[in-house]
């Protein structure tokens, strides 16, 4: 799956979790810019992404996420495999 397509799907998840239908994210979007992106919402994001992409993240992958780009990397690797 192309990165742009993955980004679009992640954006859908973010819009739902943060209840912001017009929210726009990019690969460099990080929790620093999104005030509501806290540990509680982060768990919900992970659960939603696992469901959406039918994948399971490892704790090592969760540890290495600093921005949306890192999330896309994890998803792309998992889909490839």
């Amino acid at each position: 799956m192309e990165r742009n397509e993955i980004l679009k799907q992640i954006q859908e998840v973010f819009r739902e979790i943060f209840s912001k239908s017009d929210m726009t994210i990019s690969e460099i979007t990080s929790p620093v810019e999104v005030e509501e992106w806290d540990s509680l919402n982060h768990i919900q994001i992970v659960v939603a992404l696992e469901k959406k992409f039918k994948i399971k993240f490892t704790s090592l992958e969760l540890q290495n996420w600093r921005n949306v780009g890192d999330i896309i990397n994890s998803i792309q690797n998992k889909i490839k495999n």
Partner: protein
């Protein structure tokens, strides 16, 4: 002043922006007492790290790895409604007998003592309660060595003729706690299984912090605590609800389950504190399975 808290924040900022936000907010809400206590603890910890050829960067890496494990366990917990381990043998294989896991886990837990607000709040609750009970305590037992913070507070606050005993089944834990206990020469350290420990009806105060969730039969352990207390003796016990972790076995789904267990063990709750790990009510925490740290002073009945 070394300002280790700031150094820790700087390291975390680069690696885990979500957690950095949380810690930064937490720090901004704390008073000078927190700063003094935290810096004292971190100074002891950094000395311990240096003695063992490790750095603060290493310790923070361990802490972040532990956080990732907890996040992973929490996701599995939300799906299954159960902790991933249910027996002591499982966690023995997975964690306690696995030196690589134990290494990062112990360092992670140590840092959490002042990086997790609930841990600090419960330490303050303990300190206040011990001071109020000072006159009744001269034989003190701590079950589970941990970080040594509770027993250090007790040594600091209680009378000079108080006897201090500390029991842990793990030599590693006992040795680590010695690094953090002020006036360790006043403590008798026992490497022993608490179920075999036989100073029955001896102690007028027992502390057992975050041990119940690690055992298969928490009622048995509480009954043991009761048996070690003299008549009218008291204990301080803490344990969390909905707290999946790599070595947690017993799941308490809400605080009432803990209260009910205390009652079965003939331990009457005299004071308690309920600390959700997010800024939500107890009811919302239970509904969303957000961890609550529970602490209580209990009296033998």
């Amino acid at each position: 002043m070394n300002n280790y808290f700031s150094q820790i924040l700087d390291i975390i900022k680069k690696q885990n922006p979500i957690h950095y936000k949380r810690l930064n907010k937490m720090l901004s809400e704390q008073d000078s007492e927190f700063t003094i206590r935290a810096e004292k603890f971190f100074t002891q910890y950094v000395n311990y790290l240096n003695k063992n050829g490790k750095t603060l960067n290493y310790a923070v890496d361990c802490y972040l790895k532990m956080l990732a494990d907890i996040a992973y366990e929490h996701i599995k917990f939300l799906e299954s409604g159960k902790y991933s381990s249910s027996s002591f043998n499982e966690v023995l294989q997975r964690v306690y007998s696995n030196p690589q896991v134990m290494e990062y886990y112990m360092h992670g837990l140590l840092l959490s003592q002042f990086l997790w607000e609930q841990h600090y709040q419960i330490l303050k609750f303990f300190t206040k309660g011990i001071l109020q009970r000072k006159k009744q305590i001269n034989r003190y037992l701590e079950i589970g060595a941990g970080h040594g913070l509770y027993i250090s507070e007790a040594i600091n606050l209680l009378n000079k003729d108080t006897l201090f005993d500390l029991v842990d089944i793990s030599e590693t834990s006992l040795n680590m706690s010695k690094e953090f206990i002020d006036e360790k020469e006043r403590v008798n350290f026992y490497k022993e299984d608490i179920y075999q420990y036989n100073k029955l009806s001896y102690y007028n105060f027992i502390t057992m912090g975050e041990v119940l969730e690690h055992v298969e039969k928490p009622l048995e352990l509480l009954l043991k605590v009761n048996s070690l207390l003299c008549e009218g003796g008291e204990a301080f016990i803490t344990t969390p609800t909905n707290a999946p972790a790599i070595d947690h076995i017993t799941l308490f789904s809400n605080v009432q389950e803990i209260r009910d267990l205390m009652k079965k063990a003939k331990l009457e709750i005299t004071e308690e504190v309920v600390l959700p790990s997010e800024k939500v009510t107890e009811e919302v925490a239970n509904e969303l399975k957000i961890t609550i740290l529970y602490g209580a002073f209990v009296k033998k009945i």
